[in-house]
Symmetry: C2
Subunit: 210 residues, 2 copies
Amino acid sequence: MRKTVNRTKVHIMRAAIELFSIQGFGSTSIREIAEKANVNSALISYHFKNKQGILERIMIEYFEGLFRRFDSSREGQTEEVIDYFDELMRLVKTVIGFQCEHQAVTRIIQRELSVDSMLVREVMSTYIAKLKSVFAALFEKGIQEGQFQEDLNQEMKLIHILSSIFFPYFNPQIVREVFYVDPMSEEYIEEYIDYLSKIWSYHFKKVEFC
Amino acid sequence: MRKTVNRTKVHIMRAAIELFSIQGFGSTSIREIAEKANVNSALISYHFKNKQGILERIMIEYFEGLFRRFDSSREGQTEEVIDYFDELMRLVKTVIGFQCEHQAVTRIIQRELSVDSMLVREVMSTYIAKLKSVFAALFEKGIQEGQFQEDLNQEMKLIHILSSIFFPYFNPQIVREVFYVDPMSEEYIEEYIDYLSKIWSYHFKKVEFC
DNA sequence: GTCTATATATTGATAGAC
DNA sequence: GTCTATCAATATATAGAC
């Protein structure tokens, strides 16, 4: 791949991300994207086939990046995981951090994931399913090792965790305009993680009786 | 208002709701709506001014309906609320029930609320703010009456509650295709409410020491 | 309130020169 | 890889008859 190729592709992607996130996919035209990217509109068809093609690349790069992040954050770690609850919170922190770094794309993906299409079903069955299985595997191990409770409904836990992680970053405007806090700020993140940790530690961890 | 007026308006609204919820607002054209509603396309401009006008009515009717439901569900009740946690869960149940009854509109609203526009900001500052204040007032009273803890961050509680209520009904597809359960089913609702109740009761209620 | 007819703009996508 | 030029389809919106 030559540099010129990437430069145009990247410019188109960046412009598309900004516009999709503000106006929505359906309300954004190829011409608008080309204009914002300072690129000839014909190049979009050339590089991405069509508008849907841009969204596809945006989604794929996002999730590939997320799972790469998972791997790299596991690198400097000792083989044996000791505390599975810590591991859970580390994972949550990684996802939230990634979502903050990619605010616009996060918003686009969550929004477009609620629309019916082939692309959406594929993303669901690969990436979201994979994300779920990462958490599910963690809980399974935690239970095996006797660190986690197994009385609560496991599926509910996972749905609940995804809700908690996704929602504030899918709709940061609600958080900002109704709660007057910025979900992307360091303070908020720390406080939110802290909150979730408190809530969850009691219900997920196996209790030592008093 | 005459009957004929309403019939057309209702048909247009119904068709728009179905299309918006499946394809998204931006990807749906006035013509499509008119066709699905078996109505002349010019009538949309006549009744709603433009496409945005339909969305506006959809949103307003939804939230007006929700708050009317709040009022009516409070009717047959004794003046003095005794258990504020029960009251909280009753409120949660009401919202979730309402969301189930209006699946399509719920999806549309959550999705379009993540897009930037005047309409969205208005809906946020009126309806979502009002929804928040309903929960906030409940917590305040619960604390005053010595039934609720006040150690946890109150704002986080509210964000967390809204996340838990909204997310599964904003994106039921994730729940269905990844978790293989239907968030609209009686069983799910009961189990989910039960789960939330368990999680929250420990952290929100004032504990009687063991 | 509802229709036909139409004006006008914008859409996504491609063919072919460079 | 990038451009110009252009197509056919579709968009929203309105004027005026009924």
